[in-house]
Symmetry: C2
Subunit: 388 residues, 2 copies
Amino acid sequence: MAAGVRCGIKKSGKSDLGLIVCPTGAKAAAVFTTNTITSAAVKVSKEHIKSANISAVVVNSGNANTCTGQVGIKNAIKMCSETAKQIEEDPHSVLVASTGVIGKQLPIKKIVTGISKAAAKLSTSSKAGLDFAKAIMTTDTKPKQAFRRIEISGKDVTIAGATKGAGMIAPNMATTLCFITTDVAISKPLLGRVLKAAIGNSLNKLTVDGHQSTNDTTIILASGLAGNRPITSQCPRYKRFAKALAEVCDDLVRQMALDAEGATRMFRVMVRGASTKADAAKAARAVADYPLVKCAVHGGDPNWGRIICAVGSAGVKLNPNKLSCKLGDITVFKNGTAKKFDAKKASKVVSQTEHTITVDLGVGNISDFCYGCDLSAEYVKINAEYHT
Amino acid sequence: MAAGVRCGIKKSGKSDLGLIVCPTGAKAAAVFTTNTITSAAVKVSKEHIKSANISAVVVNSGNANTCTGQVGIKNAIKMCSETAKQIEEDPHSVLVASTGVIGKQLPIKKIVTGISKAAAKLSTSSKAGLDFAKAIMTTDTKPKQAFRRIEISGKDVTIAGATKGAGMIAPNMATTLCFITTDVAISKPLLGRVLKAAIGNSLNKLTVDGHQSTNDTTIILASGLAGNRPITSQCPRYKRFAKALAEVCDDLVRQMALDAEGATRMFRVMVRGASTKADAAKAARAVADYPLVKCAVHGGDPNWGRIICAVGSAGVKLNPNKLSCKLGDITVFKNGTAKKFDAKKASKVVSQTEHTITVDLGVGNISDFCYGCDLSAEYVKINAEYHT
């Protein structure tokens, strides 16, 4: 069951409190930011996730509850205990997440009122799911949800996810706030493993502006209500579930990229021919993070020189005489030398809603990728005007 | 002697070829980019700098001569040999530098004509120095020059520098193109050492967009014509010269920061209380490179939460309970907790042409700094429209 309401944290009057409740209790797994400075919500959820059963997740937007000291911790605990009271469960079975401005105390009275309001509106309807997705938004222009339905041992299993963008996004352990619910029956250790794998190739691969936030949290709740034969090993059923979960996460991450602050298009950097996975990832990230590449994509400009510049300064092993680059299917640079290409066609490729930049380092056969989005004047406008 | 002329590389009709000549020969030192992919000019100059005496430096803008293969190398050598012919010197005594778009062959015929044109205009006048500074510009809006005059063993010693901005700028070994001439008498090893020290605290400390280019080159020529007692050890005379050279470099780097692509103001990030120099530098750079900090500075917004977020995700050792932050003299965050401050006053600080952000990591007594500039919509405009 889900709900999303307005409790009054945001001045804009938009909804800012979301609730997910699993009345029968759920197995849960989570991945948190690796930023040294973390939100009070992250600190509290890191404790509560140890509980065998999780009954609810409460989320506020409009305030990150970060750098707020002991008062912040008390408020995060209060959010859990108030939610627990509403649904008559143990406070330790409630997880909490926050997103928004750093360094301000939560308006906890408003939030307490909001929690009871949300609890009264809990529903399994798709409208309630959408309300939740809307309530966790910050500078997002639209809510982000994804669904998959698969069959496992003759039972219908559903996976539903909601996430928010749209800035302070970088790959590393976790990105932004993301909540996934499923009715699959699965053991807790495998739930943790399958979550890590799915976000490793999706949420962890998107960079918008190169720093992970202090609040990044991804939570998955599995109720087991589908009634499938429980997944307790990495069997074919596990693989089917893992694939569907990966699709949900990939769907969400693409929505995030295209709704990133000021973004008009996204791209995928595929690095091949690396001698290590770390080098491939580092080179891909260097290209996706490079403002000059992001601006060129914004302008629909096949400016591959900036891609090569980023790869060259990434500090990875490469062979300058074998280094190659493609924009979509168009080879623009091969074995260290510029290739003649149709600039109009290349510009069309770069101007698509999504295109792939392929770089071959020429020193091995290992590959990795990264998602990025363009950098627009709108990004600057949003972030110069988003005042503290 | 210097000159700057138009040879026709740039479509804009602006000057694009610069020449510095030291008829008596000069001791020289240089620092080059550490990007794995380097310009043909860098490759050739790395060889020629080994010569005992350097007689000239020839520089073109509008074309980087990078990713241009063997033809590019031949063209860079041709630039040296043509310059040598004009001044009747050995081609190996000529250094070459290029800046501009990557992946296109130089229009070498135009450049050869330009070299003879520049040689005919060589002069010691300040106008000639300014012409040179103009000829090396890319997206700079103004030429960048700095001068200092000091006395060493009773003789007047002059240091003059010219540099170009304005994008693809990041600290690491060298930044952009920078040319410094002096008449001081000094040994070659000490000239190399004093150059490294000076740029270590100036050019190497500025980040505009996080990647060093493929062409970064800083060259210093010392003619010895001042007639001072030659500097051959790290004596007080060396220190006096080092201080003046550092001032010239700091002057140039501030001009670069304020004329960075789209920049309207600059800032200095001072990290204190680190346990290592590397950590201090890394944290300072993480703040100065962070688009969200750069946007906040652009908006005159004392958004210190973004500073803390960048420091926290920099991967450096810090104590969250001792972490502190100041904007100018205003403490906004102390021992891990937000401080009340006058937002209007803080906004005034951030809106200055230059302000200092101080971060204390709370784990040691080592410090380092980094220069950055704001990120404006104009940066995006310049770089989305600068077409290949």
